[in-house]
């Protein structure tokens, strides 16, 4: 009969109308500032730089290789290489970024910088409330603001962090084994100069490896 469908529709909307007052789980809206969604583990917003240990300046994993700067599609990373070097986690002498800026306003959360970084130095953060009243300085994040400890990364992305940490422990063990072998070889062949700090190669690399990594 004509008009039957409209009656059915009216009944349906009435059921929704009254139902939304009695059944709370009908309402799918999240009342944002008070309530929040729990983000899925793979969610990503913005890159951070990871460091090991407690000291951000000393433990920063980034070696300023500038791969990410070149790969970043909107070109929002700006890196200036340091003049001097510092040892990395296996003890190898590496450059570090004197300046590492990312423009939050330009970053498009593509994660390409993370994919290309060979040193596990850059990862994606989940923080999304980045608005600021300062349009220029407030949106350009410096190395200090970007640096986050590895523990933080383990907290926000536990699965990814476990994989990375496992790989890095293995790398470290390999490097240490290699260094130990080299040191043993060096001790065999050149016993007269063990304290030679200015010496190049294996013996120099072996020492910071133990010093830097706990």
């Amino acid at each position: 009969m004509l008009g039957e469908g409209i009656i059915q529709g009216l009944v349906e909307t009435a059921r929704n109308f009254f139902g939304s007052y009695v059944e709370k789980d009908r309402l799918t809206t999240v009342q944002y500032p008070e309530e929040r969604h729990t983000l899925p583990e793979a969610s990503r917003v913005f890159p951070i730089l990871l460091y090991d240990g407690d000291d951000a300046a000393k433990g920063l994993r980034c070696v300023a290789c500038q791969i990410c700067e070149k790969e970043c599609p909107p070109r929002c990373i700006h890196i200036e290489k340091s003049k001097d070097k510092k040892p990395d986690f296996v003890g190898k002498q590496q450059f570090y970024p004197a300046v590492f800026d990312i423009d939050v306003a330009v970053c498009m959360s593509c994660q390409i910088c993370v994919e290309v970084c060979p040193f596990d130095a850059i990862r994606m953060d989940k923080v999304y409330e980045l608005s600021t009243s300062d349009r220029f300085g407030g949106l350009l994040w410096t190395k200090e603001q970007l640096s986050k400890p590895n523990e933080y990364y383990q907290k926000i992305h536990p699965m990814e962090a476990a994989e990375t940490d496992e790989r890095r422990v293995k790398e470290l063990a390999e490097a240490q084994a290699k260094a130990a072998a080299a040191a043993a070889k060096a001790a065999q062949t050149a016993s007269p100069a063990p304290g030679d700090a200015s010496g190049n190669g294996a013996s120099a690399a072996a020492k910071p490896a133990t010093a830097v990594h706990e």
Partner: protein, 402 residues
């Protein structure tokens, strides 16, 4: 102890008191100003309330909360909206006809407010008791079409012109069923005065009021009237003139800021006015449906009924999607028009089936009711059959989706 009668007449008494205390030469003017100001303030406030109710009601129908941030439960949302629309830039297109563009919203709001003059919002609470009140209402109400076309034409924009053309076509088509469905009431009441029509309905037999909606032709007429009123006021599902998806809100697309708010206001005021007329014609105006509730003040009854109809409007808007232009026209000319003619016929039969013809009260009344109902129901079924013939509604099969 204050008697119910005094509460009922409190506003009338108050006005009389103020008028009595003004100097004699000013009394007419003061009386007019008080009435006009009251109408403007009350219905503008109702508009503010209605926007919140509408947004919250629609939200609930879609399992959302609706506005709930400004004030407790979001009731101050209209204030925020008003501030927003007042502080917006008033953009007028360079190619527009400036004078007409400026006048259109004013004419629209002004015309809509004029229709309130004949609405009896309570006992003795009618601004002007015209002998031809219903006629006046429709005559003034038809002038909104002019304002809408002014807006659409002067904006010099193809979408607003399309919207205005749609609006005119729609409003002219639906004006006919709107007026014809009230003809039945005018026939039975024998008067065009809104005040008299309500007074005729405010009589009781066996404790039940003589509302016209309780008769078969009145019920059918009321439903047809409300459908036509929905189309007249451009409300969903007949909101083609402002279809956002196809003509990006139609005739008021080139309006911003407060002028846009005026269009919005006029749309709601039109809705209240036409609902008010529906209440006056079919739902007994300010009278209570049963005699033992007659102590409730008459203006409360009127506004209660108005809010109920408002909810019905919101409910329908939350349910029915927008029609197509040809569906709209087919519905007006092939269904609404014949059905309103049938209600007029039924009302005529009702008039002649007096006690002398069908016999004494209880049984005679039932027979009269059933005969008149049949006169409407049989053509309705037949018409529905004819209109749906050859049209099969099947489940749509998608080739690529799914």
């Amino acid at each position: 102890m204050i008697s119910p009668g005094a509460v009922d007449q409190v506003f009338v008494t108050l006005k009389d008191w103020i008028v009595f205390h003004t100097p004699a030469p000013l009394q007419t003017l003061v009386s007019i100003v008080i009435e006009v100001a009251t109408i403007i303030v009350v219905f503008a406030a109702l508009f503010a309330l209605a926007t919140v109710f509408e947004r919250k009601g629609l939200g609930r129908m879609q399992n959302r909360y609706g506005p709930n941030r400004v004030g407790p439960f979001g009731v101050f949302q209209p204030i925020a909206d008003a501030v927003k629309s007042l502080t917006k830039e008033d953009v007028v297109p360079r190619a527009a006809d400036h004078v007409v563009h400026y006048l259109a919203p004013l004419v629209l709001v002004g015309v809509v407010f004029l229709t309130y003059a004949v609405l009896p919002v309570g006992r003795n609470m009618t601004a002007v008791n015209l002998d031809a009140g219903v006629l006046y209402f429709f005559a003034v109400g038809a002038a909104t079409e002019l304002a809408i076309f002014m807006a659409g034409w002067s904006s010099h924009n193809k979408y607003s012109l399309l919207g205005a053309m749609r609006a005119i076509a729609q409003m002219v088509s639906y004006e006919i069923p709107l007026i014809l469905s009230s003809v039945a009431v005018i026939m039975i009441a024998g008067t065009l005065s809104t005040v008299k029509i309500v007074e005729l309905q405010a009589r009781y037999s066996n404790g039940l009021a003589h509302w016209y909606v309780f008769t078969p032709w009145g019920l059918a007429g009321f439903i047809l009237f409300m459908i036509a009123a929905t189309a007249e006021t451009n409300r969903s599902p007949f909101d083609l003139p402002e279809g956002e998806s196809e003509i990006i809100s139609g005739y008021f697309i080139e309006y911003s800021g407060f002028k846009f708010a005026l269009f919005f206001l006029a749309e709601y005021l039109e809705m209240f006015a036409v609902s008010g007329l529906g209440i006056t014609l079919f739902l007994g105006g300010w009278s209570s449906p049963v005699s033992f509730l007659a102590w409730i003040p008459s203006w409360l009854w009127f506004f209660g009924k108005l809010l109920a109809l408002l909810f019905a409007f919101i409910w329908v808007r939350g349910t029915v999607p927008r029609l197509r232009m040809d569906q709209l026209m087919n519905f007006a000319w092939k269904f609404m028009l014949p059905m309103t003619l049938v209600t007029i016929l039924s009302a005529g039969i009702w008039h002649f089936l007096t006690v002398a013809v069908v016999g004494p009260k209880p049984l005679g009344g039932v027979i009269r009711w059933l005969v008149c109902a049949l006169v409407i129901f049989v053509p309705y079924i037949t018409l529905a059959r004819v209109l749906e013939r050859g049209r099969r509604i099947e489940k749509r099969v998608y080739r690529f989706a799914e």
